[in-house]
Assembly symmetry: C2
Homo-oligomer: 256 residues x 2
């Protein structure tokens, strides 16, 4: 019975897409059946998995506007256990349409629920803002995984996301919880950077994953080459960090 | 006669807020009258200028919902020539309201035009997506300054922004142009990073600023301390880079 996990934070460039792609890939390598869906019109998840512009149609925009079924949009990837639904490359007019369609918060709820029996994990790569498609994703999810860039101010964005989760719990009457907070792009820090991370660890102790993703050029190179880091360089620090995160999540969710 | 410049890219964490704040501050230090307006509900520009949550009301949300005039929302900063209009700290419900209000593309056009005689430069710090408030900002602007994170894939986002600018030029019949593309967070690069920057420089030669902003911990520390880097540490590499960008822009816009 699948678990739907949004990878989200209303702040840019903190490693949402990198985490969605590489965690999904690591779970697939551990033979879990995994689906990853790109909900960000920048299409970064598609690029990181080797999909060009033309391969991004049909995609999520077709599903949300009822011009295609989800089955018609699911793609296979280089990993046998990892499937992918891309976000179309959108014109400015379609971008505005998507914004208006996203006012319907229930847009993905029933659809993704119907997918739960086919997959062990469904990841939703969310856009970096706190309304629209991010709300649609959270309403459809069982939990939220929150990446936070190590050494950079994220507390305000995390507080905002927790308030958002509370609001959704109240109006949909559902048990939306947090999968955890993941420190990403960790590098040898300045004093200020260490203070920022300590503030986060203090305020949200109990939520923060043990695994910390290091800043590792292999990770950004692998998305340039359109591959999850575990396929690009399985022995790199980046690959082992995401494998360790996958293990932590499997333990949490009842798989040894 | 003021120039309205959107700082924008539909991609997260590329240095939009850092650039809007530090470029505005550098021009103010050169005795230009400057206004910076925060259009991103994450409120990062406010944090970087030392404004706490409670100081962010009244703000842009009040202006857009007609509950306050812009004059009632303008704040002074530590620099005599730099004024600031914060974005309110928004509840989830107000976040959704803001999304709906932003469907009106002309929302800021007349308002900002009426501000042009009071300032030499008005900067709009945009959110990291390609619709809603970003469209509102572009429709009200004379030009767009595009930050791009050195060594990381930005070409798709830049192409998307250029398509967005074209579309706006056509339906509003206005001469919206590009101020330029600014490489940010530049650090000693991997081979892949250098290739990515060369692709950008080739495709958009003529648009890319000569100034490149280096990755410099003083820059992220200064926003943690709520000050533009020129006030935090005027002799740092970060401060001199933004001063050099300010000079490049003043030359382009007819001031020696
Ligand atoms: N651990 C890491 N080491 C080095 N580079 C990284 C790491 N994680 C992510 N990056 C790079 O940092 C940039 C931002 O990462 P990513 O796109 O995953 O963030 P995001 O939160 O999804 O951004 P957005 O808000 O635009 O959706 C990308 O160029 C990515 O390749
Ligand atoms: N030149 C630099 N050197 C070091 N750190 C930097 C530099 N420029 C920006 N940063 C840091 O990188 C992070 C992202 O920068 P910034 O907030 O300006 O990006 P943004 O594009 O506005 O993000 P968003 O998409 O969320 O609006 C911040 O923590 C900032 O302090
Ligand atoms: Mg992303
Ligand atoms: Mg910003």
């Amino acid at each position: 019975m699948g678990k739907i996990i949004s990878v989200a934070l209303p702040k840019g460039g903190v490693g949402k897409t990198t985490t969605a792609v590489n965690l999904a890939a690591s779970l697939a390598v551990a033979e879990k059946r995994v689906l990853i869906m790109d909900l960000d019109s920048s299409g970064a998840a598609g690029i990181a998995l080797g999909f060009q512009d033309q391969d991004r149609t049909p995609g999520v925009f077709n599903i949300l506007s009822y011009t295609r079924s989800i089955e018609q949009c699911i793609r296979q990837t280089e990993l046998s256990h990892l499937d992918f639904v891309p976000m179309n490359s959108l014109s400015p007019i379609d971008e505005e349409r998507l914004g208006r369609m996203s006012n319907n918060k229930m847009l993905l709820y029933h659809l993704l629920n119907s997918m739960k029996e086919r997959y062990d994990y469904i990841f939703l790569d969310c856009p970096p803002y706190a309304s629209g498609l991010m709300t649609v994703a959270l309403v459809a999810s069982d939990s939220v995984l929150i990446p936070a860039k190590s050494g950079h101010l994220s507390l305000e964005a995390i507080d905002k996301l927790f308030a958002h989760i509370d609001w959704i719990r109240r109006f949909t009457n559902r048990a939306l919880c947090t999968e955890g907070i993941l420190l990403t792009m960790h590098e040898p820090r300045t004093k200020v950077g260490a203070m920022i991370d300590n503030d986060l660890n203090d305020k949200y102790s109990g939520h923060v994953f043990n695994t910390v993703i290091p800043k590792n050029s292999t990770i950004s190179e692998s998305s340039y080459h359109g591959k999850p880091v575990i396929l690009y360089n399985a022995s790199s620090k980046g690959a082992s960090a995401y494998l360790s995160l996958a293990q932590e999540i499997m333990n949490k969710n009842g798989t040894p």
